[in-house]
């Protein structure tokens, strides 16, 4: 049984790693398509790195905001300014697969945040927008605090997953 449980956990981590990669590119794609994300990212400290990590050792995904550029830096081990940690893969996977809200994970003490909580709130809002682009409405209706808004369709968003960086702009609050 222990070996089976270990294989299941390993499988979950592998799936989580893939979804985190998609999420990493998804945030960049959303920044390319949606002014709300660009304005949120423009409010992040410059330069700064944000990491989403599944405890205890990963997988993880990070983004770097430097000047007017947002880059998904994948699973590279970096020293983040804001580290959001899911306490276990069992909590992270439902969130990453759109079965549970990221906000729920935070409010249920299932994730922790090290860094400026104001920055974390901005990242949270970005992730909600990204989920609106990556997941169909039938899923986002359950996991987002309000109906998803998209300036472009899902297919355009998926096509933009090919890009690892986006140009951001400064501006007023979305």
């Amino acid at each position: 049984m222990a070996a089976r449980a270990w294989r299941v956990k390993r499988g979950r981590k592998a799936i989580a790693a893939i979804v985190l990669w998609v999420l990493g590119r998804g945030l960049v794609a959303s920044a390319r398509l949606d002014g709300r994300v660009r304005r949120e990212v423009a409010s992040w400290p410059d330069p700064s790195v944000v990491t989403l990590l599944i405890a205890p050792w990963g997988p993880r995904v990070s983004w770097r905001r430097a000047g007017n550029s947002l880059t998904a830096i994948g699973s590279a081990e970096v020293d983040p300014d804001l580290l959001v940690t899911f306490k276990s893969v069992d909590v992270a996977l439902p969130c990453l697969l759109g079965m549970k809200g990221v906000l729920d994970a935070f409010t249920e003490h299932r994730s922790t945040a090290s860094g400026d909580l104001k920055h974390a709130m901005s990242v949270l809002r970005c992730l909600h927008i990204v989920e609106g682009y990556l997941f169909p409405d039938i899923m986002t209706r359950r996991i987002l605090p309000r109906p998803a808004e998209r300036s472009r369709g899902h297919l355009v968003a998926y096509a933009n997953l090919l890009h690892s960086s986006a140009t951001i702009e400064s501006g007023e609050r979305p």
Partner: protein, 394 residues
């Protein structure tokens, strides 16, 4: 109401009662410490309130390492670092914090510095990001009945150099012992009594309607509301009623336990922002914004507000109110309480009475949107909705 998942912790030992402070020697012995640093402020010494604790300590086996009184109204990184330096220099082995939220938060910050050897508190900002057990014994003695900081896992400390408010939230920030003694709040003037009690009431009401409300936090919250309903008018009638003062201190502590576990929401997000932008006293902001936050949330948690109607207004009002109207009646009960406090103590009813101008509303809404408390609210408001709520409170 049972959530799919929740966590709850209240590890502080609580001493509540007349002359409870006289047990401080035993508590220090129990914790295995004997050289406490007493943290307070000069005003509390001048008013002979902190002196009650010092006198009690003089009659114990403990030796006070030093009395640190330079704690400003808003605790700051510089003061926290100075407390930690003095703690080491005087070879203290515990902190006894005597004061309001600022003093208690300073003690929590110093405990972080001393436990983690921190040179920069910035490293430890965040939610549940601190690791390991606290290495500093910590006794909290509140001198107001409002913040509940003696029972909460949160601290806010100003970084004056970088103009930042650093937020910390970790269960390791809970004190080892919290002492509630009515002598500590007897001299609070009516206006401040009302403001701090409304802060406690807001903690309780928001904890009931937040996303992490759970059966344990609900019970603390409802008991806190009961005590405030019954004893706040009594304290205003007879400020020297020790029993009533003790009841309010208990209410603040229980509301602190409730919100430390279930969190707070939109009222605190707007209130913190209003405090930062317009300098409104925290309790005043909580008081006047509470009914507006409840009204905004009511379509999502009307049933939860209905559940606390007997606590807010009494069982007779609950029984006489049709079930469909009980949620709104709970909001009305808060408005009635506010009106009474306004008439008796001058507590502001509107943002403009508290000195906020219409021109400050957009900035307050913008800052509120970034408050972590907002993520705990049952509904996630937009910037425009926040502006509308704040304009309604103007």
């Amino acid at each position: 109401m049972i959530p799919a998942y929740y966590e709850f912790q209240n590890s502080a030992k609580i001493l509540s009662g007349n002359r409870a402070i006289e047990h401080i020697g035993f508590e220090l012995l129990s914790l295995g410490v004997s050289r406490p640093l007493v943290l307070t402020n000069q005003q509390l010494l001048d008013l002979k309130i902190a002196t009650i604790v010092l006198d009690a300590l003089a009659d114990t086996e403990a030796t006070v390492a030093t009395v640190f009184t330079d704690v400003p109204v808003d605790s700051s990184v510089d003061v926290v670092n100075e407390v930690a330096r003095v703690y080491r220099e005087t070879q203290a082995d515990a902190i006894v914090a005597v004061g309001g939220g600022s003093v208690l938060d300073t003690a929590k910050g110093a405990a972080i510095v001393l436990t983690h050897g921190a040179t920069d508190l910035m490293q430890y900002r965040g939610a549940e990001s601190l690791r390991g057990r606290r290495s500093v014994a910590f006794i909290a003695i509140p001198t107001t009945a409002g913040t509940g900081s003696e029972a909460t896992s949160a601290a806010v400390i100003k970084d004056t150099e970088r103009h930042l408010k650093l937020s910390f939230q970790s269960l390791s920030l809970l004190p080892d012992v919290a002492i509630l003694d009515p002598r500590m709040t007897l001299k609070l003037p009516p206006r401040l009594t009302a403001s701090t009690a409304m802060d406690a009431l807001t903690h309780a009401v928001e904890s009931v309607s937040c996303r992490q409300a759970n059966p344990l936090s609900d019970n603390y919250a409802r008991s806190a509301i009961d005590l405030i309903r019954e004893y706040l008018p009594r304290v205003l009638d007879r400020p020297d009623d020790e029993r009533a003062r003790l009841a309010l201190a208990n209410a603040a502590l229980m509301a602190g336990v409730a919100f430390s576990n279930a969190m707070v929401g939109i009222v605190h997000a707007m209130g913190h922002a209003a405090g930062g932008v317009a300098g409104i006293a925290h309790g005043d902001a909580m008081a006047l914004l509470l009914p507006h936050g409840m009204a905004y949330n009511s379509d999502a948690v009307c049933d939860r507000y209905a559940e606390i109607l007997p606590n807010l207004a009494g069982i007779d009002v609950y029984a006489a109110t049709p079930p469909a109207e009980r949620g709104q009646a709970a909001i009305d009960a808060v408005r009635s309480l506010l009106k009474m406090l306004h008439e008796r103590t001058g507590l502001p009813l509107t943002l403009s009475q508290a000195g906020v101008s219409a021109g400050q509303i957009p900035e307050i809404a913008s800052v509120a949107l970034d408050e972590a408390a907002l993520s705990m609210n049952v509904k996630q408001p937009t910037y425009e909705e926040l502006v509308a709520i704040l304009e309604g409170a103007l």
